[in-house]
């Protein structure tokens, strides 16, 4: 199988991690999600009470809710944060992210059409911002960077992208 030519040296992982505060933000938004879940469980409980169904249904639903909450509030943000890496080189941007499936993306600077930063209410509260990098056909996001860092990085990428010019 190893007749293939070409360099197969493993590339280094991208260097930079996103802000630790991202963990808090993700946990809060997961909490909101579990809050909605809790309402549903309560709704089911009331329904079961009036329909005189076995209490085991509620116990089951509550159990699922507890497991889901623990995973989505504690585990998922932690893994996501640990996996998330990015690095901006002179000629390309490298991203790594994912939960069960680790994705690595390579975006050449020549393909970058524009970069912008944006923040929702949660991110704003923690002085964070996300960067969105758009090519002609794709959109990529680096979530939750410190606001200043995000602004700098945005300007940096936009400058690099402007230098290298090529047709679409």
């Amino acid at each position: 199988m190893n007749i293939v030519e070409g360099e197969s040296r493993l590339r280094k992982q991208p260097q930079n991690q996103i802000s630790l505060k991202a963990l808090t933000v993700w946990r809060i938004s997961a909490l909101i999600g579990t809050g909605v879940g809790l309402l549903i469980v309560i709704g089911l409980g009331i329904g079961a009470y009036f329909l005189e169904l076995s209490y085991w249904y509620i116990v089951g639903a509550a159990g699922i809710w507890v497991i889901y909450s623990i995973i989505s509030v504690f585990l998922v943000p932690k893994i996501r944060h640990r996996v998330w890496r990015y690095e901006v080189h002179e000629h390309e941007i490298e991203l790594q992210f994912g939960l069960f499936v680790i994705k690595r993306v390579l975006i050449p600077m020549v393909r970058v059409q524009h970069v912008d930063t944006h923040q929702g209410p949660l991110l704003r509260k923690y002085k964070l911002a996300s960067i969105e990098i758009s090519t002609a056909a794709t959109k990529h996001e680096i979530p939750a960077l410190d606001l200043e860092e995000a602004d700098q990085l945005r300007d940096h990428i936009s400058r690099l992208a402007r230098v290298t010019d090529d047709d679409v």
């Binding site: 070409g6 590339r11 690595r104 993306v105 975006i107």
Partner: protein
């Protein structure tokens, strides 16, 4: 040669306006008709309807009257609007494609419809002249290309006239047309369309009565059912053949200096011009039937515009013998060269590909065999089919980069071979699941621009090192650049 006066389109435009407006009212009108038909027709309905039609008529005449166009100062200027005056100025250098089509109404009067498209995002064409004379259309095209030539600061401006004669062109032969028609995958579409249609009319058609009439069928033998199903399939097949024949009749491809012109169709004549520099990738596709007969279809993926009704990819050659592909590509698209000597996937990926198809089959088979006792067992034949399908998807997957060109091959149902140049790849991506990591395999995905959106091509379970090779090939971060 310049047009100094704003022009109107041909008066047939009035009819077209009228038809278009009536079309948009027809569904509500039918619904209204059905809802109110319980009571007897009353006078108000007729009067109201006639008034509405009269109004539509007046508006379509006014619309035609107010619609003018002119090419001046390197711009196509369109002014229209009955109540609100709208002006649209399209700079000629922004014009990407001009499509010339002729619907039935246009053909009756010997006219054509010209659609002018820029790279702008929009589903509608930016400028549309619905009915003009053919000479006028030619003149507009000429004007546009002349202006473009001029603004390109004529490098070799004088000698185009002679070149046109020996440009490569392709005409679809009758034989190829018949092959295309009889192997089209449109059969499935038609069957499902018929099924959908029938299920829609459940309530209107008195099925029970029909079933009563055909009661002998319930007692009839399996053979009779089989024959009926066979006949239904045959009719669907014939319909799809006719559809494809109409669609691809007179299929012609002409290669211009920096564009490719495709025209086709009997009733609805379509002409599409694709500038060479908008071409992002080539797809060479073989559906199983055509693969068996040694034929392939070639698609162009191009950026911007909204031409063609095949969605985002445009058919370049509907069916051509596989052995002609290399030659046709070198003639029409010299930038693209198919490499058939691809690197395949490692042996350990095979099982994963097979399992991927077998598991869904099992999900169907197990309940079917359990619940539908005697006949359910028949579903077991799905198992070898799924396994074989999985094996085929494994066998046909592959990759290779060749200079600045990436070859990616995979199979969903049809065997697909994608050719894309490095500078047309918008981004690339590798994906690793936990299970893939354990056996050091990775999924590779690349994105190109197609139409207004992105389009992904994915090959699963490549050797991790091979993905790394492709990434290194693609990476712009090395000191030397390819090509």
């Amino acid at each position: 040669m310049m047009m100094f006066e704003p022009k109107r389109i041909h008066p047939v435009g009035m009819i077209l306006n009228f038809v278009r407006m009536i079309k948009s009212y027809i569904v509500p009108a039918i619904i209204f008709f059905f809802v109110s038909s319980n009571e007897s027709f009353n006078l108000y309905l007729i009067v109201g309807g006639s008034l509405l039609i009269l109004l539509v008529m007046v508006i379509s005449i006014l619309e035609w009257w107010k619609f003018t166009y002119i090419i001046v100062d390197g711009e196509l200027r369109i002014e229209h609007g009955v109540f609100v005056k709208k002006k649209r100025y399209i700079p000629i250098e922004r014009i990407q494609t001009t499509n010339i089509t002729a619907g039935i109404i246009q053909q009756i009067f010997g006219l054509v419809k010209v659609q002018i498209e820029t790279a702008g995002s929009g589903i509608e064409a930016e400028g549309s002249l619905t009915a003009i004379k053919k000479q006028e259309a030619d003149r507009i095209q000429e004007e546009i290309s002349k202006y473009k030539q001029l603004s390109k600061s004529s490098i070799a401006g004088s000698e185009q006239e002679e070149v046109i004669l020996d440009l490569p062109n392709y005409k679809m032969t009758i034989k190829d047309l018949l092959v295309a028609a009889s192997t089209s995958s449109g059969i499935g579409v038609i069957i499902s369309a018929v099924a959908a249609f029938v299920s829609q009319f459940d309530e209107f058609i008195p099925y029970e009565k029909i079933i009563d009439r055909f009661e002998f069928l319930t007692n009839a033998s399996i053979t009779l059912y089989a024959i009926l199903i066979f006949i239904a399939f045959f009719i669907a097949w014939i319909l799809s053949i006719i559809g494809v024949l109409l669609k691809y009749a007179y299929f012609t491809v002409v290669k211009g200096e920096d564009e490719i012109q495709i025209s086709r169709g009997i009733f609805e004549k379509r002409q599409i011009t694709i500038p060479a520099k908008r071409i992002q990738a080539i797809q060479i596709v073989q559906n199983p039937l055509r693969q068996l007969l040694g034929y392939t279809t070639i698609y162009i993926e191009s950026a911007g515009g909204n031409s063609g009704d095949e969605g985002l990819s445009t058919i370049l050659f509907p069916v051509v013998p596989k052995k002609n592909v290399d030659q046709l590509l070198s003639e029409f698209l010299p930038d693209f060269k198919q490499n058939n000597d691809l690197y395949r996937l490692p042996k350990r990926s095979m099982l994963r590909y097979v399992i991927r198809k077998v598991i869904p089959a099992l999900i169907v088979i197990i309940p079917a065999a359990y619940f539908l006792q005697p006949w359910g067992y028949l579903s077991v034949i799905l198992l070898p089919i799924a396994a074989w399908w999985g094996y085929a998807t494994y066998k046909d997957a592959g990759w290779k980069y060749d200079g600045s060109q990436l070859n990616v091959a995979f199979r969903v149902i049809s065997k697909t071979h994608v050719l894309v140049n490095r500078n047309r790849l918008q981004s690339i991506k590798s994906k690793t699941t936990y299970f893939q990591k354990r056996v050091s395999l990775q999924t590779f995905e690349c994105t190109i621009k197609s139409g207004l959106l992105g389009r992904n091509f994915t090959v699963k379970d490549l050797e991790q090192q091979d993905v790394e090779r492709i990434i290194n090939w693609y990476s712009y971060e090395k000191n030397n650049r390819h090509s």
